[in-house]
Amino acid sequence: MKPVHVEVDTTVCALSGYCAEIAGEVFELRDDGVVVADTPAADPELLAKLLEAESLCPTGAIQVRHSRSS
């Protein structure tokens, strides 16, 4: 499986917290108001959660890049 790449733009993150609710194993809310991404595994179940987190983010701060063949 090809890896999933997740980026978070902390300058626009509004700490809605939805990403951590959906994929807490990847996103973490920190005290300084930043959502950070750990390196995710590329299994299909997690990818679905990451894509939902991306789409639910109100500011578009999350970018998920993945290969459709993965």
Binding site: V12, S16, T59
Partner: protein, 418 residues
């Protein structure tokens, strides 16, 4: 600027510091106001009770997850490219080119937003100018009801809004619900992608959560979407035209930049920092100390003056007080230029990407995202058509509400060559 707060707002803890505002809006210790909190909430909740904006915590997240599916990137891309720009161009083309009379841009933008709302929310029966006119006539009073927490005369506002709501439901919404129920019952029918259809798809969820109030709450959900997609957006777009027109008077060299989407998006962001839709309010669940040291006792209401917070934050980067002026070249380190205009935290505006488009501060990492958003699309078409303020006839602010809302916004559309 906001007008003076109504009497009912006295007694709130005034929050005008940016860091304090962030804390209140992001913290689970603060929730949307309940009916008992005062501040006209007993009136307000007649229109928005049980809807997304009224929820807190886990229930809010569940609902947001359902409604957020309407705002996926692919949906917004399709909406923007196939529907938005053509609808705006069509409206401008319908203007009487031979007329030299000013156009009320507020009314004009309202009409455009109603056309866009028809698609987003899924309201049928608005396919003639007469029907549009009738909808707009009643929707204006109805919308004031959905914002009655800001009203200076809530009893009168609500009385009018209830009458208008009945008419709107009877003439437009009931048939729209019925049509979508029929579509959902037909396994072969293509389903519209709109708020009404989505709510019906999740009707069991609403019944499970609120029982017999499901229909009422689904209508309130719809009302909140309609209010946000028509009145607030039209108001914000007029505010941007106002600021850009005045900026160009002093900076004519920037006129060619009106063809640049990124410049317009920056202008819009800077404009909504200064023309906010009103203060935000949250109620403390327990005693809280804000970052500045301000104490908010349990059950007290924090009134977040996001206009003042945005001005103060913008002023930090340069001269004291400079943040109250429009400057599209302003940068605020680590903070989007709109500051708190879309809120923050779990209740951040669900339509933020629809209005402002794709990725905001780092477009280089989003090569394929071409969305510019509703605001830039409308502004771009307006300036292409030569919109400009009418000399000696400045736009007028409404005095009926503490929100900054335009009452009249005369402009000329001077044509593409102007």
């Amino acid at each position: 600027m906001y007008g003076a707060m109504p009497q009912s707002a006295s007694g709130a803890v005034h929050v005008s510091n940016y860091e304090d505002a962030l804390y209140v809006l992001r913290s689970p210790e603060f929730r949307p106001l309940r009916k008992e909190a005062g501040f006209n909430m007993a009136y307000q909740l007649m229109f928005t009770g049980g809807a997304l904006i009224d929820l807190h915590g886990k229930e809010h997240f569940e609902r947001r997850r359902i409604l957020g599916s309407l705002f996926r990137r692919a949906t917004l891309e399709e909406y923007e490219s196939d529907y938005l720009a053509p609808a705006v161009r069509e409206a401008i083309a319908d203007l009487d080119a031979s007329s030299t009379d000013p156009v009320d841009l507020l009314v004009f933008t309202w009409r455009i937003m109603i056309r866009l709302m028809v698609r987003l929310v899924g309201v049928d029966g608005l396919d003639t100018p007469e029907a549009e006119e009738r909808f707009a006539e009643y929707f204006r009073d109805f919308e004031h009801g959905t914002r009655s927490r800001f009203s200076r005369d809530p009893e009168e506002t609500v009385a009018k809004a209830l009458v208008s709501r009945s008419i709107l439901y009877e003439e437009f919404l009931e048939a729209s619900w019925a049509r979508r129920r029929a579509i959902l019952a037909d396994a072969n029918a293509a389903r519209p992608r709109d708020v009404l259809t989505l709510l019906l798809e999740h009707e069991d969820y609403y019944r499970d959560k609120v029982g017999d109030r499901a229909a009422e709450v689904m209508n309130n959900e719809t009302a909140a979407f309609m209010a946000a997609s028509i009145g607030s957006t039209a108001n914000a777009i007029c505010g941007a035209v106002y600021e850009i027109d005045r900026w160009l008077q002093d900076h004519p060299e920037d006129r060619p930049k009106l063809l640049d989407s990124e410049f317009l998006r920056t202008c819009f962001s800077e404009s909504i920092r200064l023309h906010q839709t009103g203060p935000l309010m949250r109620q403390a669940a327990e005693d809280v100390r804000l970052p500045s040291g301000t104490e908010v006792p349990a059950q007290a209401v924090a009134l977040i003056d996001r206009l003042e917070a945005g001005i103060e934050l913008a002023s930090r980067a340069s001269q004291p007080g400079s943040g109250q002026h429009f400057d599209p070249y302003r940068t605020i380190d680590g903070v989007p230029q709109y500051v708190l205009a879309f809120g923050q935290g779990p209740h951040m505006c669900i339509g933020r990407q629809m209005v402002l488009g794709g990725h905001y501060t780092q477009p280089e990492i989003e090569e394929t995202d071409t969305r510019v958003g509703l605001a830039v699309t409308v502004l771009s078409e307006y300036f292409r058509a030569g919109v400009r303020l009418v000399p000696d006839r400045a736009p007028i602010i409404s005095g009926h509400t503490i929100r900054e809302t335009w009452a009249e916004f005369p402009v000329y559309f001077a044509g593409p060559s102007a």
